[in-house]
């Protein structure tokens, strides 16, 4: 890339989204530090330092993806998708089992979660298929094929088992259909049948997943066991009150009521809500709303169908993570191990989030302009 192209690229980047991304990463690092905090004479864990490293690496991934032409990546979508599926098969075969699930592969001393990359690959492939010139969104076959592409990855992630991650693919597919032009009546029918199929899904769930749902419906059922995190998270969030207890003043994680393993990861929002209160929660949600708006903006101004589908799909995927994570933290949804984008501690997820943002920016930079 020469200098002129560089200046052009920088000028056309969505700076609002870039800055909100940086702000969210900063919030994440600050509260990962707080989640590890045990007092002035007990330095907390070094998670926040690792997260800084991942954020830096993520920034490179972001720039790399934004600079690359999404259309050239899209052309390779089928291979990327198949590679991702191979990764998912591999994790089932040789993956490390942690907390009763095979989700990680150890590579070069780092635990990698193939399902994180598979989500992106799936959105990429599905968007690519739906944007092909001879794909007619009004035909039933189109839905079958695109459903199969998403469904393949979905099933492989479900059997890990990682239902939470897999579930984020469903609204994403639905939004892809919507954006692709599937008739509204068909889309409504799908939502309806989805609701009707819920009892069937219950029967298909593993026992630990059912238990999570039961605990969600009645947390007092097993307060020392499965319901623990839900109750303690609610206490953390609720006791934060309107203004919060102040940075590093939260006690739920320090005293270990919010388990130390989940405080910096899946339950980072509890830590923030306890220390920063309702005002802090509101600020964070506002930040996320602006941030997601950037993705919608990219989709709206995409120069082609594929770009629009890609940006809308990735935005929905990230939105699903934000919504489900916070909703489970505050007791609106069952506990699923879904991280909060840019905030939760975790390398794989930081990189895939940055990759998704980079792809959206690749679309936005190359946007359709009237002038």
């Amino acid at each position: 890339m020469n200098l002129r192209a560089g200046r052009y690229w920088i000028g056309r980047l969505d700076w609002i989204m870039a800055l909100t991304t940086a702000a969210l990463v900063a919030v994440g690092v600050a509260f990962i530090f707080s989640a590890g905090w045990r007092g002035p004479d007990e330095p907390g864990g070094d998670f926040y330092r690792k997260q800084l490293f991942w954020a830096g690496l993520g920034a490179l991934v972001f720039i790399g993806a934004a600079v690359s032409d999404y259309r050239r990546i899209g052309a390779q979508a089928i291979w990327i998708y198949l590679l991702a599926l191979a990764g998912l098969v591999l994790v089932l075969a040789v993956g490390r089992e942690m907390y009763g699930a095979r989700r990680w592969i150890r590579l070069f001393g780092v635990n990698i979660q193939p399902s994180e990359f598979a989500k992106l690959a799936t959105v990429l492939a599905t968007a690519r298929y739906l944007s092909l010139p001879d794909t007619d969104p009004r035909r039933f076959a189109t839905m079958i094929w695109s459903g199969l592409i998403t469904g393949g990855a979905f099933l492989l992630i479900v059997v890990e088992p990682d239902l939470g991650t897999a579930m984020t693919l469903l609204p994403t597919l639905w939004v892809l259909w919507l954006v692709a032009g599937v008739p509204p009546r068909t889309l409504a029918l799908i939502v309806l049948s989805g609701v009707l199929l819920m009892p069937v899904a219950w029967l298909g769930m593993g026992e630990y997943q059912r238990e999570r749902v039961r605990v969600f419906l009645d947390a007092e059922r097993d307060p020392q066991g499965a319901g623990w995190n839900k109750i303690q998270s609610a206490i953390a969030v609720g006791s934060g009150g309107f203004a919060g207890k102040g940075y590093l003043k939260g006690t739920q994680n320090v005293l270990g009521f919010l388990p130390r393993t989940v405080a910096p990861t899946d339950f980072i929002f509890s830590v923030i809500a306890e220390e920063k209160g309702f005002t802090g929660s509101l600020t964070l949600l506002g930040l996320f709303a602006v941030w997601l708006g950037g993705g919608i903006r990219a989709a709206a101004r995409a120069r082609d169908k594929f770009g629009q589908l890609l940006a809308a799909g990735l935005t929905t995927l990230l939105f699903a993570h934000v919504f489900v994570n916070i909703a489970m933290t505050i007791g609106l949804l069952p506990i699923t191990g879904l991280p909060l984008p840019l905030i939760s501690y975790g390398g794989s997820f930081m990189l895939t989030t940055m990759l998704a943002l980079g792809l959206m920016q690749s679309v936005y930079v190359r946007r359709h302009t009237a002038d």
Binding site: V175, L178, V179, A234, I235, V237, G238, S239, G240, G241, F242, T251, Q252, V254, L255, G256, F257, A273, G277, F278, S281, L282, L285, F288, A289, L292, G293, I296, A299, A300, Q308, A312, T315, T316, F319, F323, I326, A327, I330, G331, L332
Partner: protein
């Protein structure tokens, strides 16, 4: 559909999508409002309930000092090795339970400190289950030698600390044990429910420890602890300091008390020394006694059982709770009643043949060959029964009872002690109630010489001696003369209390006092064995039979005061198994008097 419309729908779809996302966020915000604002207080309470613990800390008990400031009950520092489990947990290897780890630490320390372990595995487990946030005491009350070893070898050991606490100690061991009383573990305080943990607290179970418990007992402080999820103490949020109790200044004089107890050496009985000018109890001795320190921190069950089963009844406070027929020591009361009534005069002489006939009943004088012609003055000196039968019958039993009650007999003395016994001054109503028959002259005869149903405690008889010494002023005996607030320098004085005046003409009182002086000072006085060179003493002996008639079991009594001219001491002493007051009690009391009047040179081995 035109191209423009299609384009609009495309854009509107995305706007719809964004609106749906914002709507979902609105749902989250609604729930956050509910949790953090609407129900925030509730969750804050939940938070406090699971992570805040209240601990009640007892205040240290006040001290008891004798009238010269010598400590009789106080606190001494007791050093204990305590384990902080929250810190020990950090060095705990995985897969080892906390209890096992603590047990290992205790064993290791045990070797290093050369102290046998006092903790069992059960103690440790119970502590972990019930009192996790509190430190666990591994060795309590270290000896000085162990303390030095601990200080030397325990420095820097994580989770192990040296704690100091206050332990009750009685520096004089068994001295005045009945008066001082002892403490026991308190029942949980009334506001106990507000606390999660209570450290053991002590409450007075007997004697002054019990009567002045509310003053002695400090006010409890508290600690607000924050505990972590496992229940370990994390930090102290707030602390309310404990306040120590009041110190008591006692009327007791350690030296006098020791003399009194020595005088009782080897017998069962009691001895009371009062200051007739104030009512101060200088000594309050009951024999046998016990070592108060055996009750700290708790009396061993076996020892308690031994004390309870002992036929000598060491736990009985004979000086205030022991009731005995006063025998002839009661005669001054009869004398005063008769003289004051005018029915018997000081000049009246009677003849004592050694007995007195009341109808067919024969009432003997202790001197079977008789005292010959006696008047009241000599009657007291010889303790002649016959003159008192006559005097008593002359004034009537009501006059005697009235005089006795005014002298403080037949009712609790009002001393600041529990078990303050009333004794018994019988009358018509009492006899009807107890024996279903009316008063007879025979009863009057018995009463006149302090026998029959008359009962008195040693303290009451000492009070009588004090009243006679103080020219008829009846003072309430008292043990505590002052209270000192915690951290205050001086004691707040408690003024002495005058109960009443005896209301007897001075000449009658003088006669009785002179008679009592002769008891000791005259060559033929019954209490001559009391004599101490250099000081004029007055007294009255008494011997009362008890048990089956003719069993030969006798209580020996003596009351006394001195110096005769300006009395400083009034004394009563009883010995439960005596030959007579004059031969058994007087020599013992003489020992005491010799101690009280040390200026007088020792009487060369003859009494």
């Amino acid at each position: 559909m035109s191209a423009r419309l299609a384009r609009d729908w495309e854009l509107n779809r995305l706007r719809l999508l964004y609106a749906a996302m914002l709507a979902a966020f609105a749902l989250l915000i609604a729930q956050l409002w509910r949790l953090q604002v609407a129900q925030g207080a509730r969750y804050e309470r939940n938070l406090a309930r699971q992570s805040i613990r209240r601990v009640r800390l007892p205040g240290p008990r006040g001290a008891m000092l004798d009238r010269n400031g010598q400590p009789l009950a106080e606190n001494r520092p007791s050093f204990s090795v305590t384990l902080y489990l929250g810190e020990l947990r950090l060095s705990k290897p995985r897969r080892v339970s906390l209890a096992d780890h603590v047990l290992q630490v205790v064993r290791r320390l045990s070797e290093r400190l050369e102290l046998p372990s006092e903790l069992t595995e059960r103690d440790i487990r119970r502590h972990i289950q019930q009192q996790l946030p509190l430190p666990l005491t591994a060795w309590r009350d270290l000896s000085e030698e162990s303390l030095a070893r601990v200080a030397e070898r325990l420095a820097g050991e994580p989770g192990v600390d040296l704690d100091v606490s206050a332990v009750r100690v009685y520096p004089q061991a068994g001295l005045a044990c009945h008066a001082l009383g002892y403490v026991g573990r308190a029942e949980p305080a009334e506001d106990a429910e507000a606390f999660h943990f209570q450290l053991p607290e002590w409450t007075g179970r007997a004697g002054l420890e019990k009567v002045y418990d509310s003053a002695l007992r400090g006010s409890a402080g508290g600690q607000l602890l924050r505990v972590d999820v496992a229940g370990f103490r994390r930090d102290v949020l707030d602390e309310q300091p404990v306040r120590p109790g009041y110190d008591l200044r006692l009327a007791l004089d350690t030296d006098v008390q020791r003399l009194a107890e020595r005088a009782l050496d080897g017998v069962q009985g009691a001895c009371v020394v009062l200051d007739p000018n104030t009512g101060d109890v200088l000594a309050l001795a009951s024999a046998p006694g016990y070592d108060l320190n055996a009750f700290v921190p708790a009396i061993p069950r076996a020892l308690w059982q031994t004390l309870m089963d002992d036929p000598a009844r060491p736990l009985l406070h004979r000086a205030v709770a022991g009731v005995y027929p006063p025998g002839s020591t009661f005669k001054p009361v009869t004398a005063l009643a008769a003289l004051q009534s005018g029915e018997f005069t000081a000049r009246q002489e009677i003849s004592c043949p050694g007995y007195f006939l009341l109808g067919r009943a024969r009432f003997g004088c202790w001197q079977t060959q008789g005292h010959g012609t006696v008047d009241m003055l000599r009657g007291i000196r010889y303790s002649c029964n016959v003159i008192f039968f006559r005097a008593g019958l002359a004034c009537g039993h009501e006059a005697i009872a009235d005089m006795a009650r005014r002298a403080g007999l037949g009712a609790p003395t009002g001393i600041d002690l529990d078990q303050d016994s009333a004794g018994l001054i019988p009358d018509d109503a009492w006899k009807r109630a107890a024996q279903r028959e009316g008063w007879r002259d025979g009863d009057t005869c018995n009463m006149a010489i302090g026998q029959g149903a008359v009962l008195a405690t040693p303290l009451q008889m000492a009070m009588l001696a004090a009243t006679l010494a103080a020219e008829g002023t009846v003072r309430r005996p008292r043990l505590v003369t002052g209270l000192r607030a915690p951290a205050a320098a001086v004691f707040q004085d408690i003024p002495p209390v005058i109960v009443r005046r005896l209301d007897v003409a001075p000449e009658h009182l003088r006669l009785v006092r002179e008679g009592m002086r002769d008891v000791v000072m005259a060559e033929d006085g019954t209490g001559r064995k009391l004599r101490v060179p250099g000081v004029t003493l007055a007294g009255k002996t008494g011997t009362a039979e008890y048990g089956a008639k003719g069993s030969g079991l006798k209580r020996g009594w003596m009351i006394a005061f001195g110096p005769y001219e300006a009395p400083r001491y009034a004394v009563a002493m009883v010995v439960e198994e005596a030959v007579s007051g004059g031969s058994t009690v007087a020599p013992r009391l003489q020992q005491l008097m010799q101690g009280l009047f040390p200026a007088a040179p020792a009487p060369g081995g003859r009494g």
